[in-house]
């Protein structure tokens, strides 16, 4: 079938760049989020409309335009983890950290979020602490493994 539609949803747009997403990830890794200033600079540098850059940033779950906690704890809440107690885990974490899911704690500045399946279903319930998968989590006493994991990260940072 010959081409019938010159389709903007076919990616026949002008200025496209496969480097955009990785540059955004870099910016977020440096600043913790993608600020307006950084995005304007990036758009100028890559000769892309700022609108396009912004469209991409706001589309993906892992990118953000506002600062969050120094660390992000994402609890998987998809069915395999769900039937293995992820709800209980979330509630206990909310109590322990004194925040609701979606919020950031003062003090240790950790953000608590739900996330979709992270592929650790055979070790449920699971979570991601920044880039690190945490698996087979104790739903009743999250404080223990959280402190431990946190200490591990901090060690690496120093």
């Amino acid at each position: 079938m010959s081409l019938l539609f010159k389709n903007t949803k076919s990616g026949w747009k002008k200025e496209s760049s496969e480097l955009l997403l990785s540059r955004l990830v870099e910016i977020q890794a440096q600043d913790g989020f993608c600020s307006e200033v950084r995005l304007r600079n990036l758009a100028e540098e890559m000769q892309l409309p700022l609108t396009q850059v912004y469209e991409v940033v706001t589309f993906y779950s892992f990118l953000r335009t506002h600062p969050a906690g120094h660390h992000t704890l994402m609890i998987c809440n998809s069915p395999s983890c769900f039937v293995n107690g992820s709800e209980k885990l979330l509630q206990n974490l909310e109590n322990y950290l004194h925040i609701k899911r979606g919020e950031t704690s003062s003090g240790e500045t950790i953000s608590l979020r739900c996330t979709s399946c992270i592929g650790c279903c055979n070790e449920a319930p699971a979570a991601l602490l920044d880039d690190l998968p945490l698996t087979k989590l104790d739903t009743q006493h999250p404080d223990q493994w959280l402190k431990e994991s946190y200490a591990n990260i901090k060690e690496h940072e120093i």
Binding site: L3, S10, L21, P79, N84, S116, G119, C121
Partner: protein, 379 residues
């Protein structure tokens, strides 16, 4: 396990001694179909791209394994990445691709070094077929597992799916002929070319089992075969095939094939099996799955974007005790509408769960509905 076999790139070199057409023929004869969930015949797909004029053609390895309950690709990347790279190389040769991407989901960032290591080890072989292979990281979007959304994502756009036609084989990434294959599909290829392959299914088993994991089983395996390996401690009530596949009541004799599962009104998809025991509430699981689809919908079409919220609202009411009998009919009406009218596979499978659950476990939903007839009904 065949999938852990390391052919040390013998299959690649064997493929190079054949013509591209011969390689494609072997893959076609093997009957290999896509392991990402769509089950498209791999050899046929390769033939489409092979037919297109070069010199620029693209191969994308879809490592955006996002279907809940699926972790077989992760297993392969972690334990046998070289097999995957070899499969990619053979595919590139067969279709005549000079550029390739492994689209790796953000959640698998800690596995990236495995891939980089495997690619580095085989730079020479990749150079031999003039194939440049890069890793492209996703950033948290289930929709990017869709083959056309993956292309938009790599191009630097929102990961919304595209209309088909045009098809990726003719007009894909950057407008070039493009082949998109799943990690497991590509990992089968060296085993096929090597000659020592017998068709197998890679199941991801999880849920209420004491031995969840990746299990390699023959194509005609039954649910009982799989659950025996999983060793549940309580009786299993239902099997959910990821979020998109829907559910069936547990029957050890059920054949875990595309047809066997389809006969029961579900889709086997990426061979993810989430076993759910008798203590679980099916409506609660459906509510959880509806939340997943609401979060992951790209928003590009009305039925999926708005309709799935309707479905979630109804399931929220049901599971918090405020259900009314009409809710069940509403769920069926919305579910069928969304499946028929949505733009892409995500929307079109986003209500398999509730529709199949209502077919097989309707009582559990009915029990959650108040029997009072006080509320007026509009639809």
């Amino acid at each position: 396990m065949q999938i852990l076999k390391n052919t040390k790139f013998k299959a690649f070199h064997k493929a190079l001694s054949l013509s591209a057409e011969e390689v494609i023929e072997q893959v076609k004869t093997s009957g290999l179909t896509g392991r990402g969930g769509a089950h498209f015949p791999t050899g046929l797909k390769w033939q489409f791209i092979h037919k297109e004029k070069g010199p620029d053609k693209i191969l994308i390895c879809n490592a955006d394994e996002g279907e809940p309950g699926t972790f077989k690709d992760r297993f392969i990347i972690r334990n046998n990445p070289e097999l995957l790279i070899e499969g990619i190389a053979i595919a590139a040769y067969a279709i005549g691709a000079n550029r390739g991407y492994i689209y790796l989901r953000a959640e698998y960032k800690n596995l990236r070094p495995h891939l980089e290591w495997a690619i580095k080890n085989h730079q020479n072989e990749l150079a031999q077929i003039h194939f440049r292979l890069d890793i492209f990281m996703g950033q948290g979007a289930y929709i990017c597992g869709d083959e056309t959304a993956i292309m938009n994502s790599i191009e630097g756009y929102r990961g919304e799916p595209r209309s088909k036609p045009p098809y990726p084989a003719q007009l894909g990434l950057f407008g070039l002929p493009t082949c998109i294959n799943n990690v497991t599909t590509l990992s089968n290829v060296p085993l096929i070319i090597d000659g020592d392959w017998s068709d197998f299914r890679l199941f991801s088993l999880s849920g209420n089992v004491s031995k969840p994991g990746v299990y390699e089983l023959p194509p005609d395996s039954s649910a009982g075969d799989l659950l025996a390996l999983g060793n549940p401690s309580k009786p299993i009530k239902a099997l959910f095939f990821g979020c998109a596949g829907g559910c069936v009541p547990y029957d050890p004799k059920l054949k875990l094939s595309k047809e066997g599962v389809a006969d029961q009104g579900a889709m086997i998809g990426s061979f993810a099996v989430i076993a759910v025991d008798e203590d679980q509430s099916i409506p609660a699981i459906c509510r959880n799955i509806a939340e997943f689809f609401v979060h992951e919908s790209c928003g590009g079409c009305t039925p999926c974007r708005e309709g799935n919220v309707k479905v979630l609202n109804i399931l929220n009411r049901l599971t918090s005790g405020d259900g009314i009998p009409e809710d069940i009919d509403r769920l069926i009406a919305w579910g069928n509408f969304i499946q028929d009218c949505a733009f892409c596979g995500l929307g079109q499978t986003s209500n398999n769960h509730v529709l199949s659950a209502l077919t097989h476990f309707r009582k559990e939903f009915e029990e959650l509905c108040k029997s009072s007839s006080m509320k007026p009904v509009t639809r």
